[in-house]
């Protein structure tokens, strides 16, 4: 950790998370370099969503440390001890960590553009005009230039998820976390969302993607991970992960979903 220059964009060190007696994460450590795309797969309930939620402190870790861009997430180091940060500080940190949810979670009372510009205006304190300009550009980028004034209820699932991606990008995040972004979509709408994510990856965004879309993973991932029962079972480049997995658990998982 001493040499600041080579610090990864995201670092998890021995992360543990319990819900009551259930230990969902049992010591997860991983580094994600700047610009790297890591795809995490795993059976449901394996802890992969929880890991993403810990990275932006939507869940508090019980043990271990998480750093984003060198900053400890949710905690502050005071004389060698870790103290939970104040809400404002946590919020400021989250503002630079984009997150896309399985169920989109768009704000239904705001238009597509309203969704995209709300946080830039009220969190980043950007001027309305400037935010609108940037918001329009962002929606154009995800192919929704003609849907600025539509409410989420008037959009298809794929369109909603693209608005959600634009909303996260409008905060100019350092990293993007995708929590099963296509799992709630009708099959014919999955492609349009994956396309947006692919172009984002090409632009060099640092991304962690939890997904079961193995075609996407093969094409876009720099690194694959399999999480099962709260630990990383297998990790490696996609070619090795898919063609030559080392662990029985990975083979079993791949045989089920491919």
């Amino acid at each position: 950790m001493e040499t600041y220059g080579i610090l990864p964009m995201i670092r998890c060190e021995d992360v543990h998370k319990r819900f009551g007696r259930l230990e969902v994460l049992r010591g997860v450590s991983l580094d994600v370099a700047k610009g790297e795309v890591v795809v995490i797969a795993g059976p449901s309930g394996s802890g992969k969503s929880t890991l993403l939620r810990c990275i932006n402190h939507l869940e508090k870790v019980n043990q271990g440390r998480i750093y984003v861009d060198g900053q400890p997430v949710g905690y502050r180091e005071v004389k060698g001890k870790f103290v939970e940060k104040g809400e404002r500080e946590v919020a400021r940190m989250r503002a630079s960590i984009g997150m896309v949810f399985q169920r989109f979670n768009l704000f239904p009372h705001l238009t597509a553009l309203g969704n995209v510009i709300d946080a830039p205006i009220h969190v980043r304190k950007m001027g309305r005009r400037k935010a609108q300009e940037a918001g329009r550009a962002m929606l154009e980028k995800v192919g929704l230039a003609d849907k600025l004034d539509a409410y989420p209820g008037q959009l298809s699932g794929g369109q909603q998820q693209r608005v959600a991606i634009a909303r996260a990008l409008a905060m100019e995040p350092k990293v993007m976390l995708f929590d099963e972004p296509t799992s709630a979509l009708d099959p014919e709408l999955v492609g349009e969302v994956l396309e947006v994510m692919k172009s984002l990856a090409r632009e060099g965004m640092t991304m962690i993607v939890v997904t079961h879309e193995m075609g996407f993973a093969r094409e876009v991932a720099d690194r694959m991970m399999l999480i099962d029962e709260g630990v990383i079972v297998e990790e490696g480049p996609p070619a090795q992960f898919f063609n030559n997995p080392r662990h029985e658990r990975t083979k079993l998982f791949l045989s089920k979903i491919l």
């Binding site: 939507l58 919020a91 984009g98 949810f101 169920r103 979670n105 969190v123 539509a150």
Partner: protein, 256 residues
């Protein structure tokens, strides 16, 4: 054979004469002012107490629970007398007694009582908003207070508004209980006049007409508010106001 009609001692022209009399209009004005201010106080208290009640911190949720328990569990009339007669008696301070006018006590007592009911309405509204909305707001860097104001409450409002409309209509009418603390609101104004001229039925009709006018106008306003809040959620049949404004070419363009 003819059935003898009871002689009806009802003079419609008396109704007409008193409908716009200054005492009645003044009473109606007091009713509206008291009801609006008391409802505003009740909504504010309701939001604060709902947030406290939903907190995990017992220092916040216990007082809120006690508040709701007490003010929902005792009669409004008793509460009015409590603030108007009981409190001055308790403190025996002429300055305080002088400050506690019927008008002020009416707004305060009705508002505090209303807050207990609004607590439950606001809580139901907030709980109707999906948990994912808070996650999304936080992931964009909002503090929970900002997320509440910008994301949760605007959505909760849709659920909160219809029962709040009911509450306000009840408030307009319940304010007549303030006759017990000598407030000259609409019903009490009518009572004043008929205790003088004995035209009881006529004056009760006068008061009822004004109550109906108030509740009708308010119902129209409520329908308009609900239609506006429904933006993006579902189509509603156009409101009367909406149809009127559209007829005059001033209608807002509706989506879908």
């Amino acid at each position: 054979m003819s059935i003898p009609l009871p002689s009806l001692d009802f003079e419609p022209d008396v109704v007409w004469r008193f409908l716009f009399s200054s005492v009645i209009l003044e009473g109606a004005r007091t009713t509206i002012i008291v009801a609006v201010l008391a409802q505003a106080l009740g909504v504010s208290l309701g939001i604060a107490s709902a947030l406290m009640r939903m907190s995990k911190n017992p220092l916040l949720n216990v007082p809120a629970n006690l508040y709701v328990w007490f003010f929902r569990g005792t009669p409004l009339l008793v509460q009015l007398l409590f603030w108007y007669n009981g409190v001055p008696e308790l403190f025996d301070n002429p300055d305080l007694t002088h400050q506690l006018t019927s008008f002020r006590v009416a707004i305060f007592a009705l508002g505090v009582n209303e807050g207990a009911y609004m607590t439950e309405i606001v809580r139901a509204g907030i709980e109707s908003v999906e948990a994912g909305q808070m996650d999304a707001a936080k992931s964009l860097g909002m503090t929970s207070g900002k997320a509440m104001r910008r994301v949760i409450l605007p959505q909760a409002l849709r659920v909160i508004l219809p029962p709040t409309g009911n509450e306000f209509i009840a408030m307009l009418k319940n304010s007549s209980l303030c006759f017990a603390i000598a407030l000259v609101e609409l019903a009490n104004a009518a009572r004043f006049i008929y205790s003088d001229n004995y035209k009881v039925m006529e004056l009760l009709v006068v008061a009822s007409i004004w109550y109906l006018v108030m509740t009708t106008v308010f119902s129209l306003i409520q329908a308009e508010l609900e239609a506006r809040l429904a933006a993006g959620v579902r189509d509603r049949p156009p409101t009367l106001f909406g149809r009127m404004t559209e007829a005059f070419g001033a209608g807002r363009t509706r989506l879908r």
